[in-house]
Structures are given as structure tokens and as C-alpha cells.
């Protein structure tokens, strides 16, 4: 394989990996605090692309304003989801919360089918992002550069928020010990709400970028990326933000490069993530950067 073709695949893999990373952060944050696989996260991601589509195509909002609005609305959607589907079950058995999460995911998907229609729609192409840059023999969309840079910027903003602000401190406390942080006067419900809001906003950014990279949107588009991003979070060590980003990059790169080198396996594309997941889990049951869970009697 020629070097420039390899470079092309590499940039592709990195940008796909950063998309996975953005969405995986949302999974990992929620899991870190609630010990809940937020199955509806992929559907929030789907909702964000539809919101963008409608605000740009139907309402004609300029893209930068639309992006901002979509990110805020999606954050609010995440908070509403948490308040309606998860908060009432705060001290229910885990399986009930899980079922509620899956139910919420189905509700969002079916609502999207009814409200937005089941037929795929074409995401608007924005010249600023889709412009092709030529580097020697490699031609790359500007988007391919923007995505990883933005992921890293957002990651550092998020890490700053978590390490240096009061809400961030509350989040860390709640994820360490629910009851004690409540005793210490932390408003647990508010903290969880903020977590969902941040996670959903990141999913919105991921969704917008996904829509531009793969410009066909449909109501079930969130399912596969959702599952893959969750896998990325698990591979990296769930509950660990660095781990989620690492997992996302690993997953994106492996997926793109394997297909590039072994084109015969294209049909098995979606299976790679699961195979990788199972391999990682078997050798490091808590993921690459996860903490060892001590068994308590």
C-alpha cells in the first residue's frame, strides 16, 4: 500500500476515532456516576443531528448559530431524560434502571420515526467544513482536521471543568461515593443532571460532526455508533475520561485500518468492535485504564 493511501486511511481513522471519543465520554461520565449504561445516549446523538438538520434546512439558521442552539437544546434533552427516566428509579435495582434506559432509547427512536419520518434525510453540506484540502497527493476534507482538534480542545475544557470547578469536584465526589457526598451537602440530583447535560452536549457535537462526515441521517442511526462508543468507553476503562478518549481512538483506527488492509472483511466491519471488546475484557476485565474493582464480601 502506498504511503499516501495509508496516510489517507490514517487521517480517516483518527477523525472517526475522535467522533467515537466524543460520544464515549458521555457514556463514561454517566457510568462513572450512576453505574448505568445509558442506552439512550446514542439516540440523543441521533436527535442532535436531526435538530441540526431542521434548524439549518427548514428554518435557515446560519450554521454557527444552529450549532450553538443544537448543543444547548441537546443538553436540555439529556437533563429531561435523566429527570424523567432515571431519577425516579434512583434507589431501584440496577436492572430496572437499565430497562428504563432501554425503554427511553426505544421511545426516542420511535418518536423520531413518527416525528421526523423513517426515510433517510440528507444532512446539509457546509462549504466551510467539506472543503477539500490537498497536501501533496493526499486530499482531505477540512472536517477531518477539525474533528480531532475539536475533540482534544473539548477534552481539555472538560478536564478543566472536572478538576478545577466546584461542580466538577461534586461530580468526582458523587462518582466515588454516592451516600457520603450526599451527607457532605452535595446536591446529588443536580450533579447528576449536570453530568447528563455535559455528556449530551458532547454527544451533540459528535452528532453534528457525524452528520457532516456521513451525510445520511435516519432515526436508527444512533444505535450502532452508540453501541460502538459504549464499547470504546469499556475498552478504555469505563468511568475514566482519558480511557474513553483512548478507547475511541483505538476503535476508530482499528476499524478503518483493518478494512483498508483487508478489504475482504468489509462485511464484518461492525463485528470488529465487538471482537476487540471481548479480547480486551478477557485480558483486562475492567478495560485498559480502568481501576481494579476489589471484591467485597
Amino acid at each position: 500500500m502506498a504511503f499516501d493511501v495509508f496516510l489517507q486511511h490514517l487521517t480517516n481513522g483518527i477523525s472517526l476515532g475522535s467522533l467515537y471519543a466524543l460520544v464515549a465520554i458521555g457514556y463514561t461520565m454517566v457510568y462513572g456516576i450512576l453505574r448505568l449504561i445509558n442506552f439512550a445516549h446514542g439516540d440523543i446523538f441521533m436527535m442532535a443531528t436531526y435538530f441540526t438538520f431542521y434548524s439549518i434546512v427548514i428554518f435557515g439558521v446560519p450554521w454557527y448559530a444552529a450549532f450553538l442552539a443544537v448543543i444547548i437544546v441537546t443538553g436540555a434533552l439529556g437533563m429531561i431524560l435523566e429527570a424523567s427516566a432515571y431519577r425516579p428509579l434512583r434507589d431501584a435495582p440496577r436492572i430496572s434502571i437499565m430497562i428504563s434506559a432501554i425503554g427511553a432509547s426505544f421511545l426516542l427512536e420511535n418518536l423520531a420515526i413518527v416525528v421526523f419520518g423513517g426515510r433517510p434525510k440528507a444532512f446539509p453540506a457546509l462549504d466551510f467544513f467539506t472543503e477539500v484540502i490537498r497536501l501533496g497527493t493526499v486530499s482531505i476534507q477540512r472536517l477531518t482536521f477539525i474533528i480531532p482538534v475539536m475533540t482534544l480542545v473539548l477534552l481539555y475544557v472538560l478536564l478543566y471543568l472536572i478538576n478545577n470547578t466546584k461542580s466538577g469536584m461534586a461530580m468526582r465526589a458523587v462518582s466515588k461515593d454516592f451516600e457520603t457526598s450526599r451527607l457532605m451537602g452535595i446536591d446529588v440530583n443536580r450533579t447528576i443532571s449536570v453530568t447528563f447535560c455535559i455528556g449530551s452536549m458532547l454527544a451533540a457535537v459528535g452528532g453534528i460532526m457525524w452528520g457532516m462526515k456521513f451525510p445520511q441521517i435516519q432515526p436508527l442511526m444512533g444505535v450502532m455508533p452508540g453501541v460502538k462508543c459504549f464499547i470504546a468507553a469499556v475498552i478504555g476503562g469505563i468511568g475514566n475520561i482519558h480511557g474513553a478518549v483512548l478507547g475511541g481512538f483505538i476503535l476508530g483506527l482499528v476499524e478503518i485500518l483493518l478494512i483498508a488492509f483487508l478489504p475482504d472483511l468489509t462485511g464484518y466491519r461492525d463485528a470488529f468492535a465487538f471482537i476487540l471488546l471481548i479480547i480486551v475484557l478477557l485480558f483486562r476485565p475492567t478495560g485498559i485504564m480502568g481501576e481494579k474493582i476489589a471484591e467485597k464480601v
Binding site: 427516566a85 428504563s100 420511535n110
Partner: protein
């Protein structure tokens, strides 16, 4: 002394039939048979199909409840096992000509083409293949716990589905199989549902069943009591997968057409929902909720057609049914956390006691001396 001689006497004692509970059981089984006979002859095709689905979902729900509810293994791999059962059973029951019609893109594997088995044997083989796959998967995966196990089994189910999509000469790939012989009838589906129920009741009350429950309650304590964790987990997983495979085979030959998209995570979720609604760890709860969920999904079908709400005419919106269904489900999960039955089972004593007590309004009766927890 007297007791001892009774046990050893070779004469088959029929005294138990005179008691109330066995009598009621036999009567209700007879009633069910009569009902099935009438249904088989009088009901239209749609109603028969829904009844078949109810029985199949009972089989599937029970098999998943064995893994998730009784052994406490959070497994989400059911759709994969069902896919194996459904494909195996369908391929082995299809006559050669139908197989040739189906595989027009690429010819079917020559060995597979010639094998045609009778339906019950094909079902059995489907179940065995699913169980074999569960055995292979279980060995590595069952070392994981909790959510990790759930995700890994979900992953395996998805891998099975993707492999089926890509094995063009064996499964016909994404095109799926069509005109599968409609061998599933009420007698088969209800018969297998009854067999599954009886087998699981027997299993749950055997020493294996007690070991399963011990593992569910506390793995470390169970291990300390000398229960071989791994062996029992694999056993439960394999038996559950076997019945999932049989249920999948029934489903495939009922629907008449299957494709890989049928066996997505949605299907596993439907079954998970049945066992959560019925109560994790309750056999009767699963049976009741399998019927409620299946019939409920059909009953909501009117939402997809135009209907009038008294003063406003609602145009038919396809998909509205699933919105309402998922919203209802969420409400049920939010407000009835333990499901219909919790971990309790139906018994004639409590059933009759319930009717006797309706007038008296007693406090909470505690069956079997258990406590509310």
C-alpha cells in the same frame, strides 16, 4: 414405620389425584387443551398466529429468565441464540426445491442442500447448535460479571448476526430465507411451551436450581458453600440457550421468512421486557407477561390506522403504536419495579386464598413465610 412401607410399595398410588390442587391442575390443563382444539379449528389465521407468538415468547422468556432471573447472570445474548436456532431449523426443514429458489445469488452449500429433517428433529438440532454456541461463548465470557457480562454477550449476539449476514452460501446472507415451511402450529408451540415450563420447574426445584439461586443471591457465599460457580453458570447458560434456540426455530417456521435484521438487539429487549414485567425469577410471572406483552403489542395496532377520538379524527401514523408501547413500558418499569409477580409463583392455595380474602381485606399475606424485601 407406616410411612416407610408406603414408600417401598410398588403399587402406584393415585391418592394424590383426590386432593384439591392436583385436580385443579389437571382440570386447567384439560381446559387448555380444549381451548387449543377450538382455537385450532375455529379461530382465524391472525388469532392463531398471535396465540402461537404468545407460546413462543413464553419459551423464550422462560429460557432468558433461567439465565437472568434465576442464576443472576446479566446476559443480553438471546437474539443470537435464537438466530442460530431459527436458521438451523429453517434450513433443515426446507425442501430442496425451496432451498434452490432461495439461494439464487449464490448456490447453497452442497451438503446443506440435501439434508432435510423432520420438524421436531430440526427444532432439536437448532436448540443443540445454540447450546453448543453458548458453551463455546460461555467458557470465556462467564468470567465477567454484571454489566460487562451483559455487554460481552450483547457483542457475541451481534457477532453471530453479522456472521450470518456474511455467510452467503449457508444462510443466504442479508437476503434471508423465505417460504420456510409453516410447520409451527398451536400444538407444537404450546406443547413446547408446556414442556419448557415443566422442565424449568423441575430444574429450579432440583439441587441445580438451588445452586443457581444461591449464585444469584451471593456468588462468594455460594462458592464458600462448595458450589462450583463456573460449572453451574455454564450449565444455566447452555440450557437457556438451548431453549432460546428451540424458541427461535419455532419462530422462524411460524413467520415463514427470516433475515438477519430480525435478530437485532430489539428482539432481546422484547424478551428482557417480558421477564422484567413478569418478575425476574418467577416462572408463572414470565408466562403471564409473555401473553400480556404479545397480545398488548397486537392490541395497540389500531394506533397505526386512522381512528377517531370522539371529537377529533386522528390520521393514521405508522409507528405511533411503538411510541405508545415504549411509553407504556417505561411507565410500568417506573411504577411497578418488581414486575407482576416479583419472585413469587402462582399456586392454587394463594389463588383461592386471594378470592376468599377479597371480602375480608386482610393485611399483607406473606406466602411461604417470606418477608417483603
Amino acid at each position: 414405620m407406616n410411612n416407610n412401607t408406603q414408600k417401598q410399595s410398588p403399587v402406584i398410588r393415585l391418592d394424590w389425584i383426590k386432593e384439591r390442587n392436583p385436580k385443579l391442575t389437571i382440570i386447567s390443563i384439560l381446559l387448555l387443551c380444549i381451548f387449543l382444539y377450538i382455537a385450532d379449528n375455529r379461530f382465524d389465521a391472525y388469532q392463531v398466529r398471535v396465540l402461537n407468538l404468545c407460546a413462543i415468547y413464553t419459551v423464550l422468556g422462560l429460557s432468558m429468565n433461567l439465565i437472568n432471573g434465576f442464576t443472576g447472570l446479566f446476559s443480553l445474548g438471546h437474539a443470537g441464540f435464537m438466530a442460530i436456532g431459527a436458521y438451523t431449523c429453517a434450513l433443515f426443514t426446507m425442501p430442496v426445491t425451496v432451498k434452490d429458489q432461495n439461494f439464487f445469488l449464490e448456490p447453497i452449500n452442497e451438503v446443506l442442500r440435501t439434508i432435510v429433517l423432520p420438524y421436531p428433529i430440526a427444532l432439536l438440532v437448532g436448540g443443540i447448535f445454540a447450546a453448543l454456541m453458548a458453551f463455546l461463548i460461555g467458557a470465556p465470557v462467564l468470567r465477567l460479571k454484571g454489566d460487562y457480562l451483559g455487554i460481552a454477550t450483547l457483542g457475541f449476539a451481534e457477532i453471530i448476526r453479522i456472521v450470518i449476514t456474511n455467510l452467503q452460501t449457508i444462510t443466504n446472507g442479508a437476503l434471508g430465507l423465505k417460504s420456510i415451511p409453516a410447520k409451527t402450529n398451536l400444538w407444537w408451540s404450546f406443547g413446547i411451551a408446556a414442556f419448557t415450563t415443566a422442565f424449568l420447574v423441575w430444574l429450579i426445584n432440583s439441587s441445580y436450581g438451588r445452586a443457581f439461586k444461591a449464585i444469584r443471591e451471593d456468588e462468594i457465599a455460594a462458592e464458600a458453600m462448595g458450589i462450583n460457580l463456573f460449572k453451574h453458570k455454564v450449565l444455566s447458560f447452555v440450557i437457556g440457550a438451548f431453549f432460546a434456540g428451540v424458541g427461535g426455530g419455532l419462530l422462524g417456521n411460524l413467520l415463514g421468512a427470516i433475515n438477519p435484521l430480525l435478530f437485532r438487539f430489539t428482539l432481546t429487549f422484547n424478551i428482557l421486557l417480558i421477564i422484567v414485567l413478569g418478575g425476574m425469577g418467577s416462572i408463572t410471572g414470565t408466562i403471564i407477561s409473555a401473553f400480556i406483552v404479545t397480545i398488548g403489542q397486537e392490541a395497540l395496532r389500531f394506533l397505526d390506522q386512522p381512528f377517531s377520538l370522539g371529537f377529533i379524527q386522528v390520521p393514521g401514523i405508522s409507528g405511533l403504536r411503538m411510541v405508545v408501547f415504549s411509553a407504556l413500558l417505561m411507565l410500568v418499569v417506573l411504577f411497578f419495579r418488581k414486575g407482576l409477580m416479583g419472585t413469587n409463583e402462582f399456586s392454587w392455595d394463594s389463588f383461592i386464598g386471594f378470592f376468599k380474602n377479597i371480602g375480608k381485606r386482610p393485611g399483607k399475606p406473606l406466602s411461604k413465610g417470606g418477608t417483603e424485601s
